[in-house]
Symmetry: C2
Subunit: 159 residues, 2 copies
DNA sequence: ATCTTTTCCTTGACTCATTCCAGTCTTGAG
DNA sequence: CTCAAGACTGGAATGAGTCAAGGAAAAGAT
């Protein structure tokens, strides 16, 4: 197996997809900024190519994600985001304040939480972990603003 | 502190909320079937009370969840669901095929994956885990239907 | 019991992400 | 080069969820 081809056209071809300008521009956009929403991707693609319909971007993203080239994540309360890191089930840190997303490697080396305590008859194939918190920047720019972080989920009666 | 008052009116009052018919009916609906979407809750409430606007249900759910009486979960690809189990950060099994949701206790006794491997400056306050799989019923009713489970995350070009 | 204040519910319009459809253009194979 | 499958365009539609203004009811005080 050759080293992962870094030429995006080859990546597409190897996945059995046609090489089109929209797809290349989408991959480029995601390489520049991971964890991007559809409209930002569309803006970046239009920046490259001129006019591209929003549907085209949706179609491209669906094609890429069902080919396993991009992964769709959907943090509660915001639109879907796409990223190019696939196949290494990593997880995400999400900022409650600004929505920023950062990658985290698997918590415990091996596939971590993939063993729920009771599977209840489910055949589990993936464990998705989202760590909610406040990112460094939001903490430093507005340190003592108790109004900006209202939905702290579990005010823990006793620690 | 008395044992958790099972009278819904007391539950509301203890949380500092007014006791209204819509709120009681909503709690009743959630007690009957946890993990319910807004429109199903609304249907159940209307079944109890007659005419209730959808907005009223949204308002009730927001009030209840910001008082910590219900918890909102939002599995990727479906509308928001509400449940009454709060305060014991448990997790969820979600069926890729029918969308059924089941509760799972915390994987490792103590707050499990709450320690990401690198926090990257985030102040993490919650780890949300979703186990994706196929529920027992879906596996038995349509065992070998490869078309119904398309989004298996990694279709791996060559095995 | 009555009044007042606060909070809730109704109606209806609106936003936003995403999907569907029908027709036109492009890509890659013969 | 030619052609058909597959992509893209533009417009319209769906569905979840939110916002705003007025009328109605509940909780607590008189």
């Amino acid at each position: 197996m050759p080293p992962p081809p870094s030429d995006p056209s080859d990546v597409l071809r190897d996945a059995g997809l046609r090489v089109t300008a929209a797809r290349l521009a989408t991959l480029r956009a995601l390489a520049e900024s991971p964890h991007t929403a559809v409209d930002a991707i569309a803006a970046s693609v239009r920046d490259d190519l001129g006019t591209v319909s929003t549907q085209a971007v949706y179609d491209v993203l669906r094609a890429l994600s069902s080919a396993g080239l991009v992964r769709r994540i959907e943090p509660a309360g915001s639109a879907a985001l796409y990223e190019t890191r696939t196949g290494d089930n990593h997880h995400h840190l999400v900022c409650r304040s600004c929505g920023a997303v950062a990658d985290v490697d698997c918590a415990v080396g091996e596939i971590p939480c993939l063993e729920p305590s009771q599977t209840q008859g489910y055949e589990v194939d993936e464990a998705e972990v989202v760590y909610w918190g406040i990112c460094a920047q939001c903490r430093s720019t507005s340190p003592p603003d108790p109004d900006l972080t209202p939905p702290t989920p579990n005010p823990r009666s006793t620690p």
